[in-house]
Protein backbone atom coordinates (compact mmCIF):
# COMPACT_ATOMS: atom_id res chain seq x y z
CA UNK A 1 0.00 0.00 0.00
CA UNK A 2 1.40 3.42 -0.82
CA UNK A 3 0.20 6.80 0.38
CA UNK A 4 -3.52 7.19 0.05
CA UNK A 5 -5.11 10.51 -0.68
CA UNK A 6 -7.53 10.85 2.25
CA UNK A 7 -5.81 12.34 5.29
CA UNK A 8 -5.89 10.11 8.38
CA UNK A 9 -4.77 12.82 10.76
CA UNK A 10 -6.08 16.32 10.40
CA UNK A 11 -5.26 19.31 12.61
CA UNK A 12 -7.09 22.56 11.97
CA UNK A 13 -6.19 25.83 13.65
CA UNK A 14 -5.34 24.15 16.95
CA UNK A 15 -5.02 26.59 19.85
CA UNK A 16 -4.13 26.06 23.46
CA UNK A 17 -3.22 28.55 26.17
CA UNK A 18 -1.89 27.95 29.66
CA UNK A 19 -2.51 31.05 31.72
CA UNK A 20 -0.59 33.69 29.79
CA UNK A 21 1.44 31.25 27.70
CA UNK A 22 0.18 30.52 24.21
CA UNK A 23 1.36 26.95 23.76
CA UNK A 24 -0.37 26.49 20.40
CA UNK A 25 -1.51 29.43 18.30
CA UNK A 26 -3.21 28.09 15.23
CA UNK A 27 -1.50 24.92 14.07
CA UNK A 28 -2.81 23.13 10.99
CA UNK A 29 -1.57 20.14 9.00
CA UNK A 30 -2.66 16.83 7.58
CA UNK A 31 -1.08 13.42 7.36
CA UNK A 32 -2.10 10.79 4.83
CA UNK A 33 -2.03 7.04 5.30
CA UNK A 34 1.47 5.68 4.67
CA UNK A 35 3.03 9.03 5.43
CA UNK A 36 5.53 9.77 8.19
CA UNK A 37 5.45 13.33 9.51
CA UNK A 38 8.14 14.64 11.82
CA UNK A 39 7.21 17.36 14.26
CA UNK A 40 10.40 19.30 14.89
CA UNK A 41 10.72 22.13 17.36
CA UNK A 42 12.84 23.47 20.21
CA UNK A 43 11.89 23.01 23.85
CA UNK A 44 8.66 24.76 24.64
CA UNK A 45 7.58 24.90 21.01
CA UNK A 46 4.36 23.11 21.84
CA UNK A 47 5.11 19.62 20.53
CA UNK A 48 3.97 17.80 23.63
CA UNK A 49 0.93 20.04 23.98
CA UNK A 50 -0.07 19.18 20.43
CA UNK A 51 0.55 15.48 20.91
CA UNK A 52 -1.35 15.38 24.20
CA UNK A 53 -4.25 17.14 22.53
CA UNK A 54 -4.27 14.76 19.58
CA UNK A 55 -4.22 11.77 21.91
CA UNK A 56 -7.17 13.10 23.97
CA UNK A 57 -5.01 13.51 27.08
CA UNK A 58 -6.08 17.15 27.14
CA UNK A 59 -8.48 19.41 25.31
CA UNK A 60 -7.76 22.13 22.79
CA UNK A 61 -9.10 25.60 23.55
CA UNK A 62 -10.22 25.97 19.96
CA UNK A 63 -9.65 24.47 16.58
CA UNK A 64 -10.09 20.80 15.92
CA UNK A 65 -8.29 17.59 15.21
CA UNK A 66 -9.53 14.42 13.59
CA UNK A 67 -8.08 10.95 13.66
CA UNK A 68 -9.43 8.70 10.92
CA UNK A 69 -12.45 10.98 10.69
CA UNK A 70 -13.16 11.01 14.45
CA UNK A 71 -12.98 14.39 16.16
CA UNK A 72 -10.72 14.06 19.22
CA UNK A 73 -12.75 16.57 21.22
CA UNK A 74 -16.28 15.53 20.27
CA UNK A 75 -15.75 11.81 19.88
CA UNK A 76 -12.67 10.82 21.88
CA UNK A 77 -13.59 7.13 22.13
CA UNK A 78 -13.70 6.68 18.37
CA UNK A 79 -10.43 8.58 18.05
CA UNK A 80 -8.80 6.36 20.70
CA UNK A 81 -9.75 3.28 18.73
CA UNK A 82 -8.10 4.75 15.63
CA UNK A 83 -4.73 5.84 17.00
CA UNK A 84 -1.90 4.15 18.82
CA UNK A 85 0.27 6.27 21.11
CA UNK A 86 3.65 5.88 22.71
CA UNK A 87 4.78 8.71 24.96
CA UNK A 88 8.27 10.00 25.51
CA UNK A 89 8.84 7.76 28.51
CA UNK A 90 7.94 4.12 28.07
CA UNK A 91 4.85 3.54 30.19
CA UNK A 92 5.27 -0.11 31.08
CA UNK A 93 4.55 -2.11 34.20
CA UNK A 94 7.92 -3.47 35.20
CA UNK A 95 6.43 -6.25 37.31
CA UNK A 96 4.73 -7.74 34.27
CA UNK A 97 6.40 -9.75 31.53
CA UNK A 98 6.39 -8.65 27.90
CA UNK A 99 3.59 -11.00 26.94
CA UNK A 100 1.58 -10.06 30.03
CA UNK A 101 1.94 -6.39 29.08
CA UNK A 102 0.49 -7.20 25.66
CA UNK A 103 -2.30 -9.27 27.18
CA UNK A 104 -3.15 -6.33 29.41
CA UNK A 105 -3.17 -3.95 26.48
CA UNK A 106 -5.36 -6.36 24.50
CA UNK A 107 -7.89 -6.36 27.34
CA UNK A 108 -7.98 -2.57 27.34
CA UNK A 109 -8.60 -2.64 23.60
CA UNK A 110 -11.27 -5.37 23.96
CA UNK A 111 -9.60 -7.82 21.61
CA UNK A 112 -11.11 -11.32 21.79
CA UNK A 113 -8.86 -13.67 23.75
CA UNK A 114 -7.72 -15.80 20.82
CA UNK A 115 -6.93 -12.83 18.63
CA UNK A 116 -5.16 -11.11 21.52
CA UNK A 117 -2.85 -14.03 22.00
CA UNK A 118 -1.99 -14.54 18.33
CA UNK A 119 -1.55 -10.83 17.69
CA UNK A 120 0.62 -10.51 20.80
CA UNK A 121 2.87 -13.33 19.64
CA UNK A 122 3.09 -11.85 16.17
CA UNK A 123 4.17 -8.47 17.52
CA UNK A 124 6.69 -9.95 19.93
CA UNK A 125 8.19 -11.85 17.02
CA UNK A 126 8.20 -8.85 14.72
CA UNK A 127 9.79 -6.60 17.33
CA UNK A 128 12.47 -9.09 18.31
CA UNK A 129 11.03 -9.72 21.77
CA UNK A 130 9.94 -13.33 21.39
CA UNK A 131 12.82 -14.65 23.48
CA UNK A 132 12.22 -12.13 26.24
CA UNK A 133 8.43 -12.55 26.19
CA UNK A 134 8.26 -14.29 29.56
CA UNK A 135 10.81 -12.14 31.33
CA UNK A 136 9.80 -9.25 33.58
CA UNK A 137 9.91 -5.89 31.81
CA UNK A 138 12.20 -4.82 34.65
CA UNK A 139 14.99 -6.80 33.00
CA UNK A 140 14.56 -5.23 29.54
CA UNK A 141 17.06 -2.86 27.96
CA UNK A 142 16.00 0.64 26.90
CA UNK A 143 15.57 -0.46 23.31
CA UNK A 144 13.48 -3.47 24.28
CA UNK A 145 11.21 -1.31 26.43
CA UNK A 146 10.70 1.11 23.56
CA UNK A 147 9.86 -1.73 21.21
CA UNK A 148 7.42 -3.24 23.68
CA UNK A 149 5.81 0.16 24.16
CA UNK A 150 5.41 0.40 20.42
CA UNK A 151 4.02 -3.13 20.22
CA UNK A 152 1.40 -2.16 22.82
CA UNK A 153 0.51 0.91 20.78
CA UNK A 154 0.05 -1.22 17.65
CA UNK A 155 -1.86 -4.10 19.18
CA UNK A 156 -5.31 -2.92 18.10
CA UNK A 157 -4.09 -2.21 14.54
CA UNK A 158 -4.44 1.58 14.67
CA UNK A 159 -4.38 3.44 11.38
CA UNK A 160 -2.58 6.37 12.97
CA UNK A 161 0.50 6.16 15.16
CA UNK A 162 1.44 9.11 17.37
CA UNK A 163 4.88 9.05 18.97
CA UNK A 164 6.62 11.52 21.26
CA UNK A 165 10.39 11.26 20.74
CA UNK A 166 10.33 7.53 20.03
CA UNK A 167 14.09 7.08 19.91
CA UNK A 168 15.14 9.18 22.88
CA UNK A 169 17.51 7.29 25.11
CA UNK A 170 18.32 4.64 22.52
CA UNK A 171 21.78 3.81 21.20
CA UNK A 172 22.55 3.99 17.49
CA UNK A 173 21.77 0.35 16.70
CA UNK A 174 18.49 0.42 18.59
CA UNK A 175 17.50 3.64 16.85
CA UNK A 176 18.19 2.19 13.42
CA UNK A 177 16.15 -0.87 14.33
CA UNK A 178 13.23 1.29 15.46
CA UNK A 179 13.36 3.36 12.28
CA UNK A 180 13.21 0.23 10.16
CA UNK A 181 10.11 -0.91 12.09
CA UNK A 182 8.41 2.46 11.66
CA UNK A 183 9.25 2.61 7.98
CA UNK A 184 7.71 -0.84 7.60
CA UNK A 185 4.52 0.32 9.32
CA UNK A 186 4.29 3.31 7.01
CA UNK A 187 4.64 0.99 4.02
CA UNK A 188 1.66 -0.89 5.42
CA UNK A 189 -0.36 2.32 5.22
CA UNK A 190 -0.16 3.61 8.80
CA UNK A 191 0.00 7.39 9.17
CA UNK A 192 2.77 8.30 11.62
CA UNK A 193 3.30 11.53 13.52
CA UNK A 194 6.48 11.72 15.53
CA UNK A 195 7.80 14.54 17.62
CA UNK A 196 11.58 14.56 17.56
CA UNK A 197 14.73 16.56 18.20
CA UNK A 198 16.72 14.20 16.03
CA UNK A 199 17.42 15.54 12.55
CA UNK A 200 18.83 12.29 11.34
CA UNK A 201 15.61 10.60 12.40
CA UNK A 202 13.54 13.17 10.53
CA UNK A 203 15.77 12.97 7.43
CA UNK A 204 15.78 9.22 7.20
CA UNK A 205 12.21 8.50 8.24
CA UNK A 206 9.90 11.42 7.57
CA UNK A 207 8.28 12.18 4.24
CA UNK A 208 7.43 15.60 5.56
CA UNK A 209 8.41 17.80 8.49
CA UNK A 210 6.47 20.41 10.41
CA UNK A 211 8.74 22.94 12.09
CA UNK A 212 7.07 24.22 15.22
CA UNK A 213 8.21 27.39 16.98
CA UNK A 214 6.34 29.09 19.82
CA UNK A 215 3.18 27.27 18.96
CA UNK A 216 3.25 28.22 15.30
CA UNK A 217 4.13 26.28 12.17
CA UNK A 218 7.35 28.00 11.10
CA UNK A 219 7.83 25.82 8.06
CA UNK A 220 6.70 22.56 6.55
CA UNK A 221 7.54 20.29 3.69
CA UNK A 222 9.93 17.49 2.87
CA UNK A 223 13.46 17.78 4.22
CA UNK A 224 14.58 18.47 0.65
CA UNK A 225 12.03 21.24 0.19
CA UNK A 226 12.95 22.84 3.49
CA UNK A 227 16.65 22.78 2.60
CA UNK A 228 16.02 24.13 -0.88
CA UNK A 229 13.86 26.92 0.48
CA UNK A 230 16.82 28.12 2.50
CA UNK A 231 19.06 28.52 -0.54
CA UNK A 232 21.88 26.72 -2.29
CA UNK A 233 24.56 27.39 0.31
CA UNK A 234 25.15 28.17 3.93
CA UNK A 235 28.25 30.33 4.34
CA UNK A 236 29.80 30.87 7.77
CA UNK A 237 32.36 33.35 9.05
CA UNK A 238 33.60 34.96 12.25
CA UNK A 239 35.70 38.00 13.12
CA UNK A 240 37.02 37.13 16.55
CA UNK A 241 36.77 33.96 18.61
CA UNK A 242 34.48 35.53 21.21
CA UNK A 243 30.95 36.67 20.28
CA UNK A 244 30.53 40.46 20.07
CA UNK A 245 27.57 42.47 18.94
CA UNK A 246 29.53 44.82 16.68
CA UNK A 247 31.25 41.91 14.88
CA UNK A 248 27.85 40.40 14.30
CA UNK A 249 26.54 43.64 12.87
CA UNK A 250 29.56 43.89 10.59
CA UNK A 251 29.11 40.34 9.32
CA UNK A 252 25.42 40.90 8.67
CA UNK A 253 26.32 43.98 6.68
CA UNK A 254 28.85 42.00 4.64
CA UNK A 255 26.32 39.23 4.01
CA UNK A 256 23.70 41.68 2.83
CA UNK A 257 26.16 43.52 0.60
CA UNK A 258 26.92 40.25 -1.18
CA UNK A 259 23.25 39.32 -1.60
CA UNK A 260 23.02 36.67 1.12
CA UNK A 261 20.43 36.35 3.86
CA UNK A 262 21.83 36.43 7.41
CA UNK A 263 20.64 33.48 9.46
CA UNK A 264 19.76 33.84 13.15
CA UNK A 265 22.73 32.74 15.21
CA UNK A 266 23.16 31.31 18.66
CA UNK A 267 23.98 34.06 21.20
CA UNK A 268 27.05 32.28 22.53
CA UNK A 269 28.82 31.67 19.23
CA UNK A 270 31.07 34.13 17.42
CA UNK A 271 30.22 32.49 14.12
CA UNK A 272 27.61 34.03 11.86
CA UNK A 273 25.97 32.38 8.89
CA UNK A 274 24.09 33.38 5.77
CA UNK A 275 21.97 31.53 3.30
CA UNK A 276 23.03 32.23 -0.26
CA UNK A 277 22.04 31.23 -3.80
CA UNK A 278 24.42 29.73 -6.35
CA UNK A 279 26.87 32.42 -7.55
CA UNK A 280 26.39 33.49 -11.15
CA UNK A 281 30.14 33.94 -11.65
CA UNK A 282 30.97 30.40 -10.50
CA UNK A 283 33.31 31.58 -7.71
CA UNK A 284 33.10 30.11 -4.23
CA UNK A 285 31.37 32.25 -1.62
CA UNK A 286 34.20 32.09 0.87
CA UNK A 287 36.58 33.85 -1.56
CA UNK A 288 34.05 36.53 -2.37
CA UNK A 289 33.36 37.05 1.30
CA UNK A 290 37.07 37.23 2.25
CA UNK A 291 37.67 39.76 -0.52
CA UNK A 292 34.75 41.96 0.48
CA UNK A 293 35.92 41.89 4.10
CA UNK A 294 39.51 42.76 3.11
CA UNK A 295 38.25 45.79 1.18
CA UNK A 296 36.85 47.00 4.50
CA UNK A 297 40.05 46.16 6.36
CA UNK A 298 38.57 43.17 8.22
CA UNK A 299 40.18 39.74 8.47
CA UNK A 300 37.67 36.87 8.70
CA UNK A 301 38.21 33.53 10.38
CA UNK A 302 36.24 30.30 10.43
CA UNK A 303 35.22 30.77 6.83
CA UNK A 304 33.18 27.87 5.51
CA UNK A 305 30.66 26.97 2.88
CA UNK A 306 28.34 23.96 2.78
CA UNK A 307 25.04 22.72 1.49
CA UNK A 308 22.17 23.50 3.89
CA UNK A 309 21.07 20.73 6.22
CA UNK A 310 17.65 20.16 7.72
CA UNK A 311 19.13 21.50 10.93
CA UNK A 312 19.98 24.78 9.16
CA UNK A 313 16.43 25.07 7.89
CA UNK A 314 15.13 24.27 11.35
CA UNK A 315 17.39 26.80 13.05
CA UNK A 316 16.54 29.47 10.51
CA UNK A 317 12.86 28.90 11.11
CA UNK A 318 12.85 28.43 14.87
CA UNK A 319 15.71 30.43 16.31
CA UNK A 320 14.76 33.72 17.78
CA UNK A 321 11.32 32.28 18.21
CA UNK A 322 12.77 29.75 20.65
CA UNK A 323 12.15 30.17 24.32
CA UNK A 324 15.10 31.53 26.30
CA UNK A 325 16.08 28.35 28.08
CA UNK A 326 19.41 29.48 29.50
Amino acid sequence: MGMSAAPLLCVRDARKRYGTVDALCGVSFEIAGGEVMALLGPNGAGKSTLIRSLTTLQKLDSGSAEVAGADVGANPSAARRAFGYAGQESALDKLLTGSEMLRFQAGLAHLPRVEASSRGKELLQRFGLAEAADRAVETYSGGMKRRLDLACALLHRPRVLILDEPSSGLDYEARRGLWALLAGLARDGVAILLATHDFEEAESLAHRCVLLARGRVAGSGSAQELRDALGAWVVTAAVRSAPRAEDRALLHELFSALGGTPLPESPDSAECAMAAPERADGRVWTDALREEAARRGVVLTALGQRRPTLQDAYLAATRGAAEEVR
Binding site: T55, T56, L57, S77, R80, R81, F83, Y85, G87, E89, A91, L92, D93, L95, L96, E100, R103, F104, Q105, A106, G107, L108, A109, H110, C152, H156
Partner: protein, 268 residues
Amino acid sequence: MSREFWQETRIQAWRWFLHTRRRPIVVISGLFQPLIWMALFVLVLKDSMREVIVGPYLDFVTPGALLFTAFNASLNAGVPLLFDRELGFLDRLRVAPLADRFSIVLASAIHIAVITLMQCVVIIGAAAALGVRFQGGLLGAGVGLVALLLVILGFTAVSLGLAFQFRRHFEMLAVVMIVTLPMVFLSSAFAPLERLPEWLRGLVLLNPVTLAIEPLRAVYSDEEWSFTMPLDETWLGTPTPAACLVGLAIFVAVAGFWSRGVLRRKLA
Protein backbone atom coordinates in the same frame (compact mmCIF):
# COMPACT_ATOMS: atom_id res chain seq x y z
CA MET B 1 -22.81 -2.90 32.03
CA SER B 2 -21.40 -3.92 28.69
CA ARG B 3 -19.16 -6.90 27.97
CA GLU B 4 -16.36 -4.51 27.03
CA PHE B 5 -16.59 -2.85 30.41
CA TRP B 6 -16.21 -6.19 32.19
CA GLN B 7 -13.33 -7.20 29.96
CA GLU B 8 -11.38 -4.05 30.71
CA THR B 9 -12.25 -4.29 34.43
CA ARG B 10 -11.18 -7.93 34.55
CA ILE B 11 -7.83 -7.32 32.86
CA GLN B 12 -7.03 -4.41 35.17
CA ALA B 13 -7.97 -6.43 38.25
CA TRP B 14 -5.81 -9.25 36.89
CA ARG B 15 -2.86 -6.88 36.76
CA TRP B 16 -3.35 -5.86 40.39
CA PHE B 17 -3.54 -9.49 41.49
CA LEU B 18 -0.34 -10.21 39.56
CA HIS B 19 1.26 -7.39 41.52
CA THR B 20 0.16 -8.98 44.76
CA ARG B 21 1.45 -12.36 43.67
CA ARG B 22 4.82 -10.92 42.73
CA ARG B 23 5.03 -8.74 45.82
CA PRO B 24 3.36 -10.85 48.49
CA ILE B 25 5.28 -9.01 51.19
CA VAL B 26 2.70 -6.20 51.09
CA VAL B 27 -0.14 -8.57 51.99
CA ILE B 28 1.89 -10.48 54.53
CA SER B 29 3.02 -7.37 56.37
CA GLY B 30 -0.55 -6.11 56.28
CA LEU B 31 -1.51 -9.32 58.04
CA PHE B 32 1.20 -9.31 60.62
CA GLN B 33 0.40 -5.83 61.80
CA PRO B 34 -3.02 -6.62 63.31
CA LEU B 35 -1.84 -9.99 64.62
CA ILE B 36 1.00 -8.27 66.43
CA TRP B 37 -1.39 -5.61 67.70
CA MET B 38 -3.70 -8.22 69.04
CA ALA B 39 -0.90 -10.10 70.75
CA LEU B 40 0.50 -6.93 72.28
CA PHE B 41 -2.85 -5.66 73.46
CA VAL B 42 -3.64 -8.93 75.11
CA LEU B 43 -0.22 -9.30 76.69
CA VAL B 44 0.29 -5.71 77.79
CA LEU B 45 -3.16 -4.32 78.48
CA LYS B 46 -5.17 -7.29 79.60
CA ASP B 47 -4.69 -6.68 83.30
CA SER B 48 -4.87 -2.90 83.29
CA MET B 49 -8.12 -3.00 81.29
CA ARG B 50 -9.74 -5.66 83.45
CA GLU B 51 -12.21 -3.43 85.18
CA VAL B 52 -13.04 -1.52 81.95
CA ILE B 53 -14.06 -4.40 79.81
CA VAL B 54 -16.37 -7.13 80.88
CA GLY B 55 -15.64 -10.51 79.41
CA PRO B 56 -12.49 -11.83 77.79
CA TYR B 57 -10.26 -9.11 76.38
CA LEU B 58 -9.53 -11.01 73.16
CA ASP B 59 -13.25 -10.91 72.35
CA PHE B 60 -13.04 -7.18 72.65
CA VAL B 61 -9.83 -6.72 70.67
CA THR B 62 -10.53 -9.01 67.72
CA PRO B 63 -13.19 -6.75 66.14
CA GLY B 64 -10.78 -3.82 66.57
CA ALA B 65 -7.98 -5.69 64.85
CA LEU B 66 -10.28 -6.71 61.99
CA LEU B 67 -11.48 -3.18 61.57
CA PHE B 68 -7.99 -1.80 61.70
CA THR B 69 -6.92 -4.18 58.94
CA ALA B 70 -9.88 -3.39 56.71
CA PHE B 71 -9.59 0.33 57.32
CA ASN B 72 -5.85 0.54 56.83
CA ALA B 73 -5.67 -1.56 53.68
CA SER B 74 -8.57 0.19 51.99
CA LEU B 75 -7.41 3.68 52.89
CA ASN B 76 -4.21 2.93 51.00
CA ALA B 77 -6.04 1.51 47.98
CA GLY B 78 -5.42 4.61 45.91
CA VAL B 79 -1.66 4.71 46.34
CA PRO B 80 -0.82 2.29 43.50
CA LEU B 81 -2.94 4.43 41.17
CA LEU B 82 -0.88 7.46 42.15
CA PHE B 83 2.29 5.59 41.32
CA ASP B 84 0.69 4.69 37.99
CA ARG B 85 0.12 8.34 37.32
CA GLU B 86 3.62 9.37 38.35
CA LEU B 87 5.15 6.68 36.16
CA GLY B 88 2.97 7.61 33.19
CA PHE B 89 1.11 4.33 33.24
CA LEU B 90 -2.20 6.09 33.81
CA ASP B 91 -1.78 7.76 30.42
CA ARG B 92 -1.83 4.30 28.88
CA LEU B 93 -5.28 3.83 30.40
CA ARG B 94 -6.39 7.32 29.42
CA VAL B 95 -5.58 6.84 25.74
CA ALA B 96 -6.99 3.32 25.62
CA PRO B 97 -10.45 2.98 24.09
CA LEU B 98 -12.06 2.08 27.44
CA ALA B 99 -15.82 1.65 27.50
CA ASP B 100 -15.97 3.52 30.83
CA ARG B 101 -13.04 4.83 32.87
CA PHE B 102 -14.90 3.77 35.97
CA SER B 103 -13.27 0.38 35.27
CA ILE B 104 -9.96 1.85 36.49
CA VAL B 105 -11.48 2.47 39.90
CA LEU B 106 -13.63 -0.64 39.99
CA ALA B 107 -10.72 -2.98 39.20
CA SER B 108 -8.69 -1.40 41.95
CA ALA B 109 -11.58 -1.65 44.41
CA ILE B 110 -12.20 -5.32 43.57
CA HIS B 111 -8.56 -6.15 44.14
CA ILE B 112 -8.33 -4.36 47.46
CA ALA B 113 -11.65 -5.77 48.67
CA VAL B 114 -10.64 -9.36 47.88
CA ILE B 115 -7.16 -9.08 49.37
CA THR B 116 -8.39 -7.30 52.47
CA LEU B 117 -11.24 -9.74 53.03
CA MET B 118 -8.71 -12.55 52.77
CA GLN B 119 -6.60 -10.87 55.43
CA CYS B 120 -9.66 -10.52 57.63
CA VAL B 121 -10.51 -14.19 57.16
CA VAL B 122 -7.01 -15.13 58.37
CA ILE B 123 -7.48 -13.00 61.48
CA ILE B 124 -10.96 -14.45 62.06
CA GLY B 125 -9.39 -17.91 61.75
CA ALA B 126 -6.57 -17.06 64.15
CA ALA B 127 -9.05 -15.67 66.68
CA ALA B 128 -11.27 -18.73 66.28
CA ALA B 129 -8.31 -20.96 67.03
CA LEU B 130 -7.95 -19.01 70.27
CA GLY B 131 -11.61 -19.51 71.05
CA VAL B 132 -13.07 -16.22 69.85
CA ARG B 133 -15.99 -16.95 67.54
CA PHE B 134 -18.98 -15.22 65.98
CA GLN B 135 -22.15 -15.69 67.99
CA GLY B 136 -25.26 -16.78 66.18
CA GLY B 137 -23.73 -19.02 63.57
CA LEU B 138 -23.90 -18.05 59.92
CA LEU B 139 -26.01 -14.97 60.52
CA GLY B 140 -23.45 -13.64 62.99
CA ALA B 141 -20.58 -14.34 60.60
CA GLY B 142 -22.61 -12.77 57.79
CA VAL B 143 -23.20 -9.57 59.78
CA GLY B 144 -19.50 -9.43 60.62
CA LEU B 145 -18.41 -9.85 57.02
CA VAL B 146 -20.97 -7.36 55.73
CA ALA B 147 -19.73 -4.75 58.21
CA LEU B 148 -16.14 -5.37 57.10
CA LEU B 149 -17.04 -5.31 53.42
CA LEU B 150 -18.87 -1.99 53.84
CA VAL B 151 -15.85 -0.50 55.58
CA ILE B 152 -13.59 -1.74 52.82
CA LEU B 153 -15.81 -0.41 50.04
CA GLY B 154 -16.34 2.96 51.71
CA PHE B 155 -12.71 3.67 52.52
CA THR B 156 -11.52 2.28 49.18
CA ALA B 157 -13.83 4.77 47.49
CA VAL B 158 -12.45 7.56 49.68
CA SER B 159 -8.89 6.51 48.94
CA LEU B 160 -9.40 6.25 45.18
CA GLY B 161 -11.07 9.64 45.21
CA LEU B 162 -8.12 11.09 47.12
CA ALA B 163 -5.74 9.46 44.63
CA PHE B 164 -7.28 11.50 41.84
CA GLN B 165 -7.46 14.60 43.97
CA PHE B 166 -3.76 14.61 44.77
CA ARG B 167 -0.92 14.99 42.30
CA ARG B 168 1.81 13.17 44.22
CA HIS B 169 1.84 10.03 46.26
CA PHE B 170 3.65 11.56 49.24
CA GLU B 171 0.89 14.15 49.65
CA MET B 172 -1.62 11.39 49.79
CA LEU B 173 0.47 9.27 52.16
CA ALA B 174 0.77 12.28 54.47
CA VAL B 175 -3.00 12.82 54.52
CA VAL B 176 -3.67 9.12 55.05
CA MET B 177 -1.23 9.10 57.93
CA ILE B 178 -2.87 12.13 59.52
CA VAL B 179 -6.34 10.68 59.09
CA THR B 180 -5.62 7.13 60.25
CA LEU B 181 -4.76 7.74 63.87
CA PRO B 182 -7.75 9.90 64.90
CA MET B 183 -10.10 7.71 62.89
CA VAL B 184 -8.97 4.66 64.85
CA PHE B 185 -8.69 6.30 68.24
CA LEU B 186 -11.82 8.42 67.92
CA SER B 187 -13.76 5.23 67.45
CA SER B 188 -14.80 2.53 69.83
CA ALA B 189 -12.11 0.21 68.48
CA PHE B 190 -10.03 0.04 71.63
CA ALA B 191 -12.31 1.42 74.30
CA PRO B 192 -16.09 1.01 74.56
CA LEU B 193 -18.36 3.96 73.78
CA GLU B 194 -19.63 4.19 77.36
CA ARG B 195 -16.10 4.84 78.58
CA LEU B 196 -15.64 7.89 76.40
CA PRO B 197 -16.42 11.44 77.61
CA GLU B 198 -20.05 12.29 77.11
CA TRP B 199 -19.44 15.05 74.51
CA LEU B 200 -17.24 12.81 72.42
CA ARG B 201 -19.60 9.87 72.17
CA GLY B 202 -21.87 11.34 69.52
CA LEU B 203 -18.92 12.33 67.36
CA VAL B 204 -17.34 8.95 67.74
CA LEU B 205 -20.61 7.38 66.71
CA LEU B 206 -20.53 9.29 63.42
CA ASN B 207 -17.15 7.75 62.65
CA PRO B 208 -17.69 4.94 60.13
CA VAL B 209 -15.12 2.89 61.99
CA THR B 210 -17.42 2.95 65.03
CA LEU B 211 -20.46 2.19 62.89
CA ALA B 212 -18.71 -0.97 61.75
CA ILE B 213 -17.19 -1.98 65.02
CA GLU B 214 -20.38 -1.85 67.08
CA PRO B 215 -22.29 -4.52 65.14
CA LEU B 216 -19.06 -6.48 64.73
CA ARG B 217 -18.52 -6.45 68.47
CA ALA B 218 -22.15 -7.37 69.11
CA VAL B 219 -21.85 -10.52 67.00
CA TYR B 220 -18.48 -11.33 68.53
CA SER B 221 -19.18 -10.98 72.21
CA ASP B 222 -22.92 -11.01 72.84
CA GLU B 223 -24.56 -14.40 72.69
CA GLU B 224 -27.98 -12.79 72.66
CA TRP B 225 -27.29 -10.13 70.06
CA SER B 226 -30.06 -8.97 67.76
CA PHE B 227 -30.35 -6.35 65.06
CA THR B 228 -32.50 -4.14 67.27
CA MET B 229 -30.71 -4.44 70.60
CA PRO B 230 -29.80 -1.04 72.05
CA LEU B 231 -26.07 -0.31 72.20
CA ASP B 232 -24.44 2.41 74.29
CA GLU B 233 -26.28 5.64 74.81
CA THR B 234 -24.96 8.85 73.19
CA TRP B 235 -26.35 12.35 72.76
CA LEU B 236 -27.06 11.39 69.19
CA GLY B 237 -29.35 8.67 70.39
CA THR B 238 -28.94 5.04 71.20
CA PRO B 239 -27.75 3.08 68.16
CA THR B 240 -28.69 -0.50 67.30
CA PRO B 241 -26.61 -2.86 65.15
CA ALA B 242 -29.16 -2.42 62.34
CA ALA B 243 -28.92 1.37 62.55
CA CYS B 244 -25.13 1.14 62.49
CA LEU B 245 -25.18 -0.97 59.34
CA VAL B 246 -27.58 1.46 57.68
CA GLY B 247 -25.32 4.35 58.69
CA LEU B 248 -22.37 2.48 57.24
CA ALA B 249 -24.22 1.87 53.98
CA ILE B 250 -24.98 5.59 53.77
CA PHE B 251 -21.28 6.32 54.28
CA VAL B 252 -20.41 3.92 51.45
CA ALA B 253 -22.96 5.56 49.16
CA VAL B 254 -21.70 9.07 49.92
CA ALA B 255 -18.05 8.02 49.54
CA GLY B 256 -18.79 6.27 46.24
CA PHE B 257 -20.72 9.25 44.94
CA TRP B 258 -17.97 11.69 45.89
CA SER B 259 -15.26 9.47 44.47
CA ARG B 260 -17.08 9.06 41.20
CA GLY B 261 -17.50 12.83 40.98
CA VAL B 262 -13.77 13.37 41.51
CA LEU B 263 -13.01 10.74 38.89
CA ARG B 264 -15.35 12.40 36.40
CA ARG B 265 -13.70 15.75 36.95
CA LYS B 266 -10.07 14.63 37.00
CA LEU B 267 -10.17 11.97 34.33
CA ALA B 268 -12.37 13.79 31.83
